[in-house]
Symmetry: C2
Subunit: 276 residues, 2 copies
Amino acid sequence: MNYEQLFQLIRKKRSFLCIGLDTDIKKIPEYLKEDSDPCFAFNKEIIDATLPYTAAYKPNLAFYEAQGTAGWESLKKTLNYLRSQSNDVFIIADAKRGDIGNTSGMYARAFFDELDVDAVTLSPYMGKDTVSPFLEYKDRWSVLLALTSNPSAADFQYFEDGKGQKLFEKVIETSKTWGTNDQLMYVVGATRAEALKDIREIIPNHFLLVPGVGAQGGSLSEVAKYGMNDHCGLLVNSSRGILYASSGFNFAEKAGEKAKEIQQEMETLLHDGGLI
Amino acid sequence: MNYEQLFQLIRKKRSFLCIGLDTDIKKIPEYLKEDSDPCFAFNKEIIDATLPYTAAYKPNLAFYEAQGTAGWESLKKTLNYLRSQSNDVFIIADAKRGDIGNTSGMYARAFFDELDVDAVTLSPYMGKDTVSPFLEYKDRWSVLLALTSNPSAADFQYFEDGKGQKLFEKVIETSKTWGTNDQLMYVVGATRAEALKDIREIIPNHFLLVPGVGAQGGSLSEVAKYGMNDHCGLLVNSSRGILYASSGFNFAEKAGEKAKEIQQEMETLLHDGGLI
């Protein structure tokens, strides 16, 4: 999927929601734990209930890897199921990988060939060598960590040079030359909405993947105010707030309601922005 | 394994070699490709041939993940085999993970509970939140990327504040307060041997994991000169130079010879340093 297609997908869905499939086996409803694949059973119901309201899904690899081989199988089944249900969905593997050369090429193969996702999150610490192998795949995206939503993001991302440039700005400034806005996207936490304005000065056109709305306290309207551009330019992620909206038999129904609620707020924002 | 035990292991093996199990299915000898698990078959022969000469092994996760579920199985079989052959071996999962909180906790569980390795490489970009969940495990290590050996390491790791402190120095300086030298180790590329001297001023006692000797051009004697401390404080990694010393039927024999050659050089360096 390219830049324009992603925008059209958002317009069609009237949503720039991304649902994080951070499926924690300890948190899923008790009755599902008797299923032969509880993780997939949970994801399938979540997908069925939320697909009309979301532009993207973002499985968080750690949650699957923690289950070993079985987790990897659950992940593949989830991705296959998603693809079987709709072509109008953007899939991000939230892997935060950051290796180089040969190894990074292996990861690119794992995610784009083996898992067939649209995008992968990457850590920029090792520089361009991390990203280059991913950029060789057409219509696939590298999503670079820039300014994250966690408390300790400030440990290093705010590290500042003598001229007042912070590390996350340096990362964006440098890496934006590595590929086009059909290939590169950045993670910017919703808890840092005020920084979106400065970031939009460096990259007015790129898509941003924005975690931290909901459970982490970020505001959707603030994010749209400072981050939305003429192609929307945003995918706003919610994970726990949707997945665990209820822990009972009605978890999927409640997840759907929560996703719909966010979608409706997004539809208003897209409308107000003149994008639909 | 703790700091002192790792030192005693190095003394016993008379080696601070770490062999990178970057097993590339495309590079293994043709005849092994008919095995039901070529990756494990290759690793097993490499381990049999090199175990006497090495203190550590470092499977590179990307190479296994690229094979999907089968790769994860090969990795688990390799780790089980290693543990069955010797207790005197330190195992590092080269995963370069870098996530936070809940997710980082999942990774810690995946590596320390599910795979039962001694150490995991981590990317520091997201700050302390990445490392904290790993530090809760006793006698397990977090190996933080500091100054890597790849060409584009300079993109961000040399980013410098107004007082001349570089990002990799900031990472070491800040993170060394998060845990003890029983818990934290740093990646410093052998291609940056001159930087080891400065790094030793910040962390005189910590272990360093040093890639880049051999194929990437780093010098073992330079690394020892600037990086060795009174507990050795070094694990020097070699991957391709050992694994692919020969592509024929004799690949394991040649790998063993290459590992022995490095071990002997290390024995001399340990002896010269008064450590054995």
